[in-house]
Symmetry: C2
Subunit: 384 residues, 2 copies
């Protein structure tokens, strides 16, 4: 293979963005050889840009066509696992947009299928893992520079969306169509990064507010309290209703505090381990000495193209993926646990009762509102 022959399933907001990146030359080892969308308007859009490639109505048709060696799945979340399973059964390498799915049971099926095909590349579009500040932070945490985790606080309230955003697609922001709101659509990145950096919490208490800032039935405002296995705690606050909003991640360990905001990492590094200092210092109010400085990074942030290029590299040359598809379930566990905690009005331990979550979600889907499809596709550049 000279180039990876990629089929794109779903050419909505994000699928169109991938097409744009690839045809503008950002993914030199990838060639789009097929596309699929249920909407004629989107099929016309892709035909105009890539004349001559086969364009299908259904993802399953693309998968069965043999026109590509890999698929990129960019359809509404519920369809991620079934399409990925079909693709892997047909021997296709598979890249799935976030979230991995809507509920963990369906994602477990997808992961089980992936385990049957170790020869296939299976990745998740966690493009924010390519950001130099998060990569550097991961390296520092794994290298022990923060010591043991004590506290994490992520205010991620800059996912602003207007009402027309929610009115733009019939599946958007409905239980039946999307399966959730800000936790399912905007926050899978941060939920993945949180578990990637700090590990999965063992307990979650979340307060999800549905339709608080928009005329939608799902949550657009969430505050969650987290407890980790070693006793560390955290808060995770998100919304699509705040402007201009904040994206500030603070992690405190026994060796200091690091703040990630405005694409900068600022580390306050202690000269002593706080846990040892606390019991040995002869003064009542004195903190260990510390120095605060900005942590240099490599400045690289290749985002979606970076994830796709690593995917192609994996298939063509055996290199590493940015995020193995099987890891997608972890952020979704966190998201599902937050929903479940809010629905039950009590803390939820992880792993949680996945059947109960599914049942409660299904009940919501049964009363999900019908929306007219406005068939609007936005340019999402710079929004993720």
């Amino acid at each position: 293979m000279d180039k990876l022959r990629l089929g794109i399933i779903g050419i909505g907001n994000i699928g169109s963005g991938h097409v744009g990146n690839i045809i503008s030359g950002q993914c030199p080892e990838i060639e789009i050889t097929a596309a699929a969308d249920r909407r004629e308007s989107r099929r016309a859009w892709i035909r105009e840009r890539l004349p001559g490639i086969p364009v299908f109505n259904e993802g399953e048709e693309l998968i069965a066509s043999g026109k590509s060696d890999a698929v990129l799945i960019c359809v509404p979340h519920y369809q991620h696992p079934p399409l990925a399973i079909s693709a892997m059964r047909r021997g296709l390498h598979t890249m799935v947009e976030k979230p991995a799915g809507v509920y963990t049971q369906q994602v477990r099926e997808m992961n089980k299928e992936a385990d049957l095909h170790p020869e296939l590349a299976f990745g998740l579009m966690y493009n924010q893992r390519t950001n130099c500040v998060y990569r550097k932070l991961k390296e520092m945490i794994d290298g022990g520079e923060l010591g043991s985790l004590k506290r994490v606080s992520w205010l991620i309230t800059d996912w602003y969306r207007t009402q027309i955003y929610y009115d733009s697609g019939m599946w958007r922001a409905t239980w039946a169509g999307e399966g959730g709101g800000v936790l399912l659509n905007q926050c899978p990145h941060q939920l993945d990064l949180l578990q990637w950096l700090c590990g999965l919490p063992v307990r979650v208490r979340a307060f999800c507010h549905e339709g608080k800032w928009h005329d939608i039935e799902v949550e657009d405002d969430v505050t969650a309290y987290l407890e980790f296995g070693n006793g560390a705690t955290g808060v995770f606050v998100t919304t699509t209703g705040d402007a201009p909003g904040t994206n500030r991640l603070e992690i405190t360990g026994t060796l200091g505090k690091i703040v990630c905001e405005n694409d900068r990492l600022v580390f306050s590094r202690l000269a002593a381990d706080e846990r040892e200092w606390c019991v040995s210092c002869p003064e009542g109010f004195k903190k260990p000495e510390w120095e605060t400085f900005e942590v240099p990074t490599d400045g690289e942030n290749p985002q979606h193209s970076g994830v796709l290029n690593a995917f192609a590299d994996r298939i063509l040359h055996g290199g590493p993926l940015i995020a193995d598809g099987r890891e997608g379930i972890r952020g979704l566990m966190l998201s599902n646990a937050m929903h479940l905690s809010s629905w039950l009005g009590r803390p939820v331990d992880l792993p949680f009762d996945e059947q109960l979550f599914k049942d409660m979600l299904t009940e919501r889907c049964r009363h999900s509102r019908h929306k007219e499809d406005a068939d609007i596709t936005f340019d999402t550049a710079g929004t993720y």
Copy 2:
């Protein structure tokens, strides 16, 4: 009266600080004319600094002595309301250190007594209300510059204390002696400022961790989720276990976001009301325009001396207090509600069941640990 004749009851960490401020000339209208402490070591300390003034063992003796026209009450929290009530009954102007008391029922008694003596000045030592950044913030919020409250987040984790701090006094960090931990001792300032700036929440869900970072029986780590009457939400995170810690208050309204950190106020002011923008903007991802700038203040932060000078001014010249004593109950309601929520493991609505709180506190006092008195007094300059 030329000068206010002040009696100081309690010459521990904070009382000694007040004495130092006054004798160094920071309170030109105040003269210390009496002092009281139960510890001989502290009585010796004050005799050395103010030879000739009457020094009592008990606050009640000072109050009955007629040696002062006002008292400053700096004893362990439980004794604040009974001493204040005695002082007011004797016709003494009364300034009470924070917190107003340990449980709201006793503070209601104190406030009831104050209502019987409108001629007396009754103030609370909320010295952080004198800080120019909080005064400016209050002015901006009250002036409508932020619009309606949407979200507040206060990370106040820079109240670091070592183990020896807790070992320094037998009343410290015990249910029977202090009635709580970081919420009762360090955070009354922020709890007061929070209610002063944003109003009291109507519902609280808190997670208080007792003895998490220190060998103490009360909480030294708290995460609380707040709901306000208009639907706004908040988080309040505090601890005495983090170093270097953070003090970052962020308030978002419909007209923008303001962040108070490192003694700076940074305002991101929207060009349009977000609530109107959300439903009228024809684009899906677009925020209203905004400008971010540092808000100038008058730079003044007279702290404890400022509170005492206003108290003297009130008595001598009829000026305004920094904080009326009756307002002390509001921060305490918040603190009590957080404790109660954590003890019950569920959200607590305000006003809460004050008898239930008292009963649950009393039960904890019954099993409170006995501590040896190390009789250590710290220099607290710069720690509040």
